[in-house]
């Protein structure tokens, strides 16, 4: 019987930690948010549920327990669970909204700090929480119906149901377009933004769900213990959840759950260090000796797992695309951009300096709709910086950018992508841990199917969209002759294949204006020619191109118009033949003496 009670307790704890690890996994393993303050959501959930369900001050039960807290509602336990989820989710929204603009490091520190602030508030506001003393009569749901022994089993069943339902929901979400978008954000957020993804919003959603899940875990925990005090929510809890998630392997929910069981097994195992002969005398002299030794062991384990098992216990499964249905959708024709008279893209007196170095120093040019315009110039001329300024990856110091006559200067990349501008990067920025097929699917999926609501509701519409985008992906794979690589991770592709895939991602969206940064660099000649043939074909269907390219033969053969940049300005522009003969251009390229 004792053994059963012991096992019941451990499994309950492991399931609760498993739920925490799965919630953290959604935040980090999927969205890449480094949250070092996860315990705060657990804490507010636990307190919210306790205070909602405790007997209100003045009631008989309150007096019988000689309680001292000043606020409680005495509502049923299920409302406590809802309140816990709400409290965790709202806190996460608040923290996310404040720190959304922060880069990784700042976010890790800011979340860590906010958890300490939350703990300090919970500890200081004793009227609400009784601080370090805590509250000891947190109600146990349906506690009257069971003997204390059988209650533990009942509560384990309750935990299993709650955790099971939430686990299934989160797993479903991870497979939905929403989960795919989160993984893309983790792999390369900037690149996701240039594909028009509202990444801040998606990350905020992931944070909020993770927070709500942790809040519910807090409710499960506090009602099983019956006691709540602020000392339960110290930072090491956060890092035990991290340990569980890393033990299991990030990015997959089964791993996180398994990691939690491993963590609890190890943690309970360290209770036996006291049995080691010789330690008992030291422990008698210093009561904190054994507990500290256990934390030392857990710390060492954390270090060892990170160092020696980077993949965790349950390595992420190789993801496979669903079998191709054979359907190939015709790629959509690019939308026309109005008004017809304006240039497709126009920059006016654009400037950008890095420190004292003016990378772009008053450049102006226009790209005629329907053209393939080449942008050439020696290294350091400012070509790639112009690409970054136009696509919103960097903000210009001065000057204006217009797409089809509309000013887009200084807009964020996702807004510029929405105006019909797509780009590739000189070093392709794919989603390295995602497969070729997934890279295409993320690019093609419209935002309205990447919401939470679409993840659970409107299943028919989502499936239809998924099938439609998949058929389009099939068509793109065919055009790029990459069908055999559909389930390869993007990081395993060769340089040339990466270039092709980044063009393929744009083909999924078909923006009317595409900026390509050295699409043929590092690509073998046969493939490079094939790639430019593809570009010419897209151009015939109506796409306007601005292409940075060093390979002059390709530029001369495929471009209608060439712009030459030198030292941050436009040096010359015109038809390819004029440019080839221009003495100023030759001088810039060959260093003067030859002209």
């Amino acid at each position: 019987m004792d053994l059963i009670a012991f096992a019941t307790g451990l499994i309950s704890l492991a399931l609760i930690y498993g739920l925490l690890a799965v919630g953290l996994n959604l935040q980090f393993g999927f969205a890449g948010v480094i949250n070092f303050g996860y315990v705060a959501f657990f804490a507010v959930g636990a307190f919210a549920s306790a205070l909602v369900t405790l007997p209100p001050p003045g009631s008989e039960a309150y007096l019988a327990a000689s309680a001292r807290y000043e606020i409680a509602l005495g509502w049923p336990v299920w409302s406590g669970f809802l309140a816990a989820g709400l409290a965790g989710g709202l806190l996460a929204l608040f923290i996310g909204a404040v720190s959304a603009r922060l880069a990784t490091h700042y976010l890790a520190v800011a979340t860590f700090a906010m958890a300490e602030v939350v703990r300090s508030v919970l500890g200081n506001e004793t009227w609400l929480t009784r601080g370090e003393f805590g509250i000891s009569n947190v109600p146990q749901p349906l506690g009257d119906l069971f003997t204390p022994e059988s209650y533990a089993l009942f509560y384990l069943a309750l935990i299993a149901v709650v955790v099971g339902v939430l686990f299934a929901a989160l797993r479903h979400l991870g497979e939905a377009p929403f989960g795919r978008l989160l993984r893309a954000i983790k792999d390369d957020e900037t690149s996701a933004r240039t594909l028009g993804k509202r990444t801040a919003r998606a990350k905020l959603r992931a944070l909020a769900i993770g927070g709500a899940v942790a809040g519910i875990a807090g409710a499960l925990w506090t009602h099983s213990l019956g006691v709540i005090h602020v000392g339960q929510f110290v930072p090491i809890v956060t890092f035990q959840v991290w340990l569980a998630m890393l033990l299991g392997g990030t990015g997959n929910h089964w791993g996180a759950l398994a990691g939690a069981f491993a963590l609890i097994a190890i943690r309970e195992g360290t209770r036996f260090v006291g049995e080691i002969p010789g330690l008992d005398q030291i422990a008698a002299a210093n009561p904190s000796f054994l507990p500290s030794l256990r934390f030392v062991l857990i710390g060492l384990l954390l270090i060892a797992v990170v160092r020696f098992f980077p993949g965790g216990l349950v390595p992420e499964r190789r993801r496979r695309a669903p079998a191709a249905s054979g359907a190939k959708a015709a790629l959509p024709a690019p939308e026309r951009i109005a008004p017809a008279g304006a240039p497709a893209l126009e920059i006016t007196d654009l400037r950008k300096s890095f420190g004292g170095l003016a990378a772009v120093d008053g450049a102006s040019f226009a790209v005629r709709p329907g053209s393939i315009t080449g942008l050439i110039g020696p290294n350091g001329a400012g070509k790639s910086t112009v690409m970054d300024l136009v696509s919103g990856v960097q903000t210009p110091d001065a000057g204006a950018v217009r797409v089809a006559g509309q000013e887009i200067t200084g807009l964020p990349p996702e807004a510029i992508a929405d105006r019909g501008l797509g780009r590739t990067f000189q070093t392709p920025r794919l989603y390295p841990t995602m497969t070729v097929w997934e890279n295409l699917m993320v690019a093609g999926m419209p935002q309205r199917h990447e919401t939470l609501r679409a993840g659970f509701l409107r299943a028919a519409a989502r499936r239809q969209a998924e099938a439609e985008i998949a058929a389009r992906a099939e068509a793109v794979l065919g055009e790029l002759e990459m069908q055999s690589m559909r389930d390869e991770r993007a990081e395993t592709l060769s340089g040339g294949q990466r270039k092709l895939l980044s063009l393929g991602r744009l083909m999924m969206r078909r923006p009317p204006v595409m900026l390509l940064d050295e699409p043929a660099a590092g690509v073998n000649r046969r493939l490079a020619t094939a790639l430019f043939d593809r570009i010419a074909e897209l151009n015939r269907q109506g796409t306007t191109f601005l292409i940075v390219e060093h390979e002059m033969q390709l530029v001369m053969r495929y471009c209608d118009h060439v712009i030459v940049m030198h030292q941050g300005r436009v040096l010359a522009e015109g038809a390819p033949d004029e440019i080839r003969a221009d003495p100023a251009v030759i001088e810039a390229y060959l260093g003067g003496a030859v002209a």
């Binding site: 500290s292 030794l293 030392v296």
Partner: protein, 285 residues
């Protein structure tokens, strides 16, 4: 009257924070990760100083020995735990440093126990400045802190090592091809960072009078606030950030609510991060 006293306390506390923040931010500049075990350098500095003082050394000698020892420990920790992970991205380093923090903190607790221990500061008569009595140790703290920051400034501006550190911080790859041995610069950086941390810990022990195994870990938050406030990776920003945070904490504790002096550090921090996401001095991302 109270205001002057609060300002003196705030400046002294700010000096402690500023010194510690400089140590943390120096290591960040070269290694590009925030060392969550940095607080343990403070703890180790204070406890080693206490140990050396208990075997009969005078406080200044004990302090110097402790600070040097922490520097050596810092190099050892970095070589054993951080250097092997340098090419594996940010998260493994962050998590490992948390693990190191737990290990060190609990090792200290295993040996020294959990109870706060009194730090053997000799009793000094407060001095009177314009009718206000100012404890002499606060002035000593401020003086030592300013001297340490001056030393860091001289190190960075005028020594070869300091220039190499700045070069590696600006561009590690470029520094390597220019013939700077990043391994040796790394070792030196960790030594200096941990050493300054140890000094910060001793100063902290003097301000708090008692020392406890978790003192560095708790103080780490305040140090983070100063580092981020000044702009991460910027030593001069960290100095300013530290002084501002110290003043904010003392003023807040005196005039608003004493329980929340740590929280004030973060109110200031969060306000600044919202207004200037990269800190006052625009640090490295």
């Amino acid at each position: 009257m109270i205001l002057v006293q609060t300002l003196v306390y705030g400046l002294a506390l700010g000096g402690v924070i500023a010194v510690s923040a400089v140590g943390l931010t120096l290591a960040y500049g070269v290694t590009r990760f925030i060392n969550f075990a940095f607080g343990e350098f403070l703890t180790l500095g204070a406890f080693l100083c206490l140990l050396f003082a208990q075997i009969g050394l005078g406080l200044p000698v004990a302090g110097l020995l402790a600070v040097a020892a922490v520097g050596v420990i810092g190099v050892g920790v970095a070589r054993a735990f951080y250097t092997p992970l340098m090419n594996r991205g940010l998260l493994p380093l962050l998590v490992t440093s948390v693990g190191v923090a737990f290990v060190v903190q609990n090792l200290v607790r295993m040996i020294a126990g959990s109870n706060p221990i009194r730090f053997p500061v000799p009793l000094m008569r407060p001095i009177e400045i314009g009718g206000v009595f100012v404890p002499r140790e606060q002035l000593v703290i401020l003086g030592v802190a300013l001297a340490a920051m001056l030393a860091v400034h001289l190190l960075l501006s005028f020594t070869m090592l300091g220039k190499k550190m700045r070069a590696v911080a600006d561009d590690p790859a470029l520094a390597r091809v220019s013939g700077i041995s990043s391994r040796r610069v790394l070792d030196a950086t960790w030594f200096v960072s941990a050493l300054i941390g140890g000094l910060g810990g001793i100063l902290l022990a003097i301000t708090q009078i008692t020392l406890a195994p978790q003192m560095g870990w708790h103080f780490l938050l305040v140090v983070f606030a100063a580092v981020l406030l000044g702009g991460i990776g910027s030593p001069y920003g960290a100095m300013i950030g530290g002084l501002l945070i110290g003043l904010a904490m003392e003023l807040g504790a005196t005039y608003v609510a004493a329980n929340y002096s740590y929280a004030f550090a973060f109110v200031v921090l969060i306000a600044v991060l919202i207004l200037r996401p990269r800190g006052l001095m625009g640090g490295r991302g």
